[in-house]
């Protein structure tokens, strides 16, 4: 049965019927869910997020042709593994931005340009996106980031220096910043 399903995935991809491919991936923080379209990586689910709900959301917002097809996510998995090993400071994966639009999309594109190991605050992100007063909206855009890690919303902190929030939990945000050497005063170095 497994061979039959793998054959089906290949055939679906060849005939342009694999609109959303997904797979799980291990990380030091727990299991991630990766999803891509033919255009690129479209969604990453963090370990504390519900995978079933996330797949239902993709079915609704992208296409119900959602198949578990791990081979389609090999490249994403490879880059993420390198990143977690501290051996990759810039993702080269093609991304599919379709789950974001308008101001939120502009915020996310600004976040994508924050270099590895550096941090910015929400006000700076709002300004980069063209509206310096929309600090709260910039925070919401971070919170709804469909491709965390690769779009590094963990590098955005509160203006006073506080960590701010994170969809994957504050412990994970702190862990990512430590991995990147961005928390100078980290006690656990």
């Amino acid at each position: 049965m497994r061979a039959a399903i793998e054959r089906l995935n290949e055939r679906a991809a060849a005939e342009g019927l694999l609109d959303v491919a997904y797979a799980s991936a291990d990380s030091p923080f727990g299991k991630l869910l990766l999803a891509s379209t033919p255009k690129g990586l479209v969604r990453i689910g963090l370990p504390n997020q519900n995978a079933d709900e996330l797949l239902e959301e993709l079915s609704r917002r992208v296409s119900p042709r959602v198949l578990e097809a791990p081979a389609r996510l090999d490249e994403a998995r490879r880059e993420l593994d390198l990143y977690f090993d501290g051996k990759l400071d810039r993702f080269e994966l093609p991304l599919d931005w379709r789950l974001s639009e308008g101001f939120r999309l502009r915020v996310l594109r600004a976040i994508a340009r924050i270099p590895y190991g550096q941090t910015r605050n929400y006000t700076e992100m709002a300004t980069s996106a063209g509206n310096e007063r929309a600090v709260r909206a910039a925070g919401t855009a971070c919170g709804r980031n469909p491709i965390p890690l690769v779009i590094p919303c963990h590098r955005v902190l509160r203006s006073g220096g506080g960590l701010g929030g994170y969809g994957g939990g504050l412990e994970m945000k702190r862990g990512l910043l430590e991995l990147e050497g961005a928390l100078n005063r980290s006690p656990s170095g």
Partner: protein, 154 residues
Amino acid sequence: MVSELPPFQVLIDEHAGDVMAVLRGAVGRGDADDCFQETFVAALRAYPKLKDAGNLRGWLLTIAHRKAIDHHRARGRRPLPLAQVPEVAVTDPEPGEEIWAKVWTLPPKQRAAVELRYGADLPHAEIAAALGCSTEAARRNLHEGIKRLREELA
């Protein structure tokens, strides 16, 4: 509220085994895999436009049934070779391929009803949904099909 289409993988996880079982019954083990591919590719193609997510299993099994018919047509309606059919096989809960070959000679609706009942273990109401007929008509087709098989195998 119209029920939303679940991610297609859910259909594979829940129903691929049943689809394969029906196809093994309908076309034999050797060709079931090809029909399985055809069934799921066709389902995947049609899926986003499906209006009613109420009976996805019946919908898939209907497609599988049609693919089995296509398969037999492509082979020129050549019935599978029939050796001696042991009489006990009629009441055998796991009918062998000889019986299924005989099922293939039934009229289409009877054949479908028998395949769905004994290949996929569908209740009458789901057979009706898959065939697009009333429950009573499904029951009648099944009954007629079984009766005919008994007569032919007697």
